[in-house]
Symmetry: C2
Subunit: 427 residues, 2 copies
Amino acid sequence: MNLHRTPITVPDAIEKVMHINIHKEKENISLSDTHGRVLAEDLLATHPVPPFPKSPYDGFALRSADTVNLSREDPGEFHVIETVPAGHRASRPIKEGEAIRIMTGAEIPRGADCVAMFEICGTHHKEGKDYMTLKRPMTSGQNVIEEGSETEEGVVLVSAGTLINPGVKALLATFGYNSVAVFRKPKIGVFATGTELLDVHEELAPGKIRNSNAPMIVSQIERAGGEPLYFGKLDDNFDLCYQAFTDALEDVDFLITTGGVSVGDYDLMPDIYEKLGADVLFNKVGMRPGSVTTVASFNGKLLFGLSGNPSACYVGFELFTYPVIQSFLGRTRPFHKRIEAVLGHDFEKANPFTRFVRGFVDFTGGKVHVYPTGIDKSAVVTSLASTNVLIILRGGTKGYEKGDSVEAILLDESQGQETFEIMEGSG
Amino acid sequence: MNLHRTPITVPDAIEKVMHINIHKEKENISLSDTHGRVLAEDLLATHPVPPFPKSPYDGFALRSADTVNLSREDPGEFHVIETVPAGHRASRPIKEGEAIRIMTGAEIPRGADCVAMFEICGTHHKEGKDYMTLKRPMTSGQNVIEEGSETEEGVVLVSAGTLINPGVKALLATFGYNSVAVFRKPKIGVFATGTELLDVHEELAPGKIRNSNAPMIVSQIERAGGEPLYFGKLDDNFDLCYQAFTDALEDVDFLITTGGVSVGDYDLMPDIYEKLGADVLFNKVGMRPGSVTTVASFNGKLLFGLSGNPSACYVGFELFTYPVIQSFLGRTRPFHKRIEAVLGHDFEKANPFTRFVRGFVDFTGGKVHVYPTGIDKSAVVTSLASTNVLIILRGGTKGYEKGDSVEAILLDESQGQETFEIMEGSG
């Protein structure tokens, strides 16, 4: 076992991981199952929008030529020949002196070129016929949304690689994408290793702790849009682990293990990678926490050897596994959103390595502040629960002060808000 | 039908909706199913953390009393009686002059009160026994994480009403919550109404458009953590709609309909609420879009009558339905996160009503900017696809200018990022 590993930088490590050619597969799924998936093909306007000239209001469709000389003193009278609700069509074209009553969204009848809103029209009934009166001239095209005025047919509306949110789903529906091409979700196996680990349902025992990394990772996989397969926890036994990993690799696209990647007596992962014949991309990264994070490739699959330390495990996943999942899903923006922020607390201890500090983000006053969550000893236990950013503190010879400008990786935004208030008033 | 509705303000409307006493039900689910659910009970530390004194490093546990006079010139020699990996326990207490080799996370053996890291120790083998040497004094408690030093037993670590993210899930696992109390997801029925609507798989026909609101709403329900039940689209036929809604109400907690809430000839919802005997909380809100959004309560269930206009429908859901879903799920922070921001574009048209403008958020330079997405006519079609905030523009007599300070409602943050770069360098 080589105790002297050569650390590489985080960007270099990420580049190595993202450089592995993983085998993505397209599949077609029902529109109703697309929430949170990623478009594998461009979403095109399969017809112009609107597909026909339509009315933005309830009103009377008529010929503007018939209104040229109208005024308050000299109103015009029009014979209302029909009523057309949205979804229906006038039975014949409009002729001189005629109007058709139409509803919002209805197609403009042939012959008509404008719509007078109900509010400016009078109506009356005479000799069994309906009439409307108008006291002002209309211009051609007035209150008409022309065919194709919003989008022409064939235009790319949303590019392949975009996450499908409610708005994208509405567009897919509008343009008839009943079946949608997406990349299938990666199957990601998870093992926790460590003889000290108990399952969640087990009673505490001397020297033992419950396995919290595996449920956490499974949840991180779900948040990232992957498909987790939890295979259980394993004692630090070489043959047991080797066999279990070999079996699991048959069924997954990526395999995540937690623990066993350090250089202690019971850290088996380096030897397991060697026996597997896996290509170790790196086994030491110039970062804290998670410096022993190891990633190897094997038969086009990736093995993520994350640290057994919960924070290091969490960070290792978000830095290295998350973007690979996004890439597998076909996202053109595979990395977490990076934000610039102001550090809200001193963080005094200097460190030669780049740190990824658990923190949360606050947007008060239109400024982005980030606050480390795990500063106090007692907060270490709960820090991951309130973490929604990783604050990037570059290595150096001095610490950081409140007010310093830093970067942070935005993991999620689901803090919510207790109350809803809007001050009503002048713009 | 009363054409003259009295508008109420958005905060008043939200208060009315949130004031309805909805029947929440607790259920216990497996830890593995908790991602994205909400804690219905406080998460307590069911044991101290750490549960036993443990070592933060690989090293030798020993008695600090035995090291008092050690120095480079006068090193001490200790008999290494045992090796204790994490998850195991020393077989007997340490005595004077003895040391036990322990791994990171292992329990400190009885009798020992400090840990000397491997890096500062020498080791040798003599007459069949293992020894370690140390050249400096240690203090009592050095490199020992005391039992309960991070959290005492019984402390509330995460409060009821908190969304379960990967970090919360790790805590649930740590403290043995194999079964977790949550509130069940609300079942939310969805109908689209409108004779002009086609199903997604249908070919376009004169005067018809495909139903995009229902797939969008279903996706919004999924994003909000509810359970959608899509019942289909209905023609504007009173008896048909009345029967369908009555049947559906048997099976759901809330019912969402799109369309039919305006005051046009074919807007049936007002009469349906009346025949049902539902209590209409409001049918006009002083906002744009979505002024005709109607909410009624019926037998402890809520009926959301959203506009048929896609933007109004989207906004109506996020303002009124989203917080009710969160409340049903037991969240103590049921509203979307509100942020202060700088408006990135002019928005010139004045409007007496409060507007909720589709937009997206940008965090460049540590400042929060929001940009309207639907300004251009051609952008209206795609604006909901790129929307991740609703910009709140209060009503008034003038428009808004680029640089104005505004509030926005943060809907989600899943923009991602194309590349990952960190400048390495001095702090």
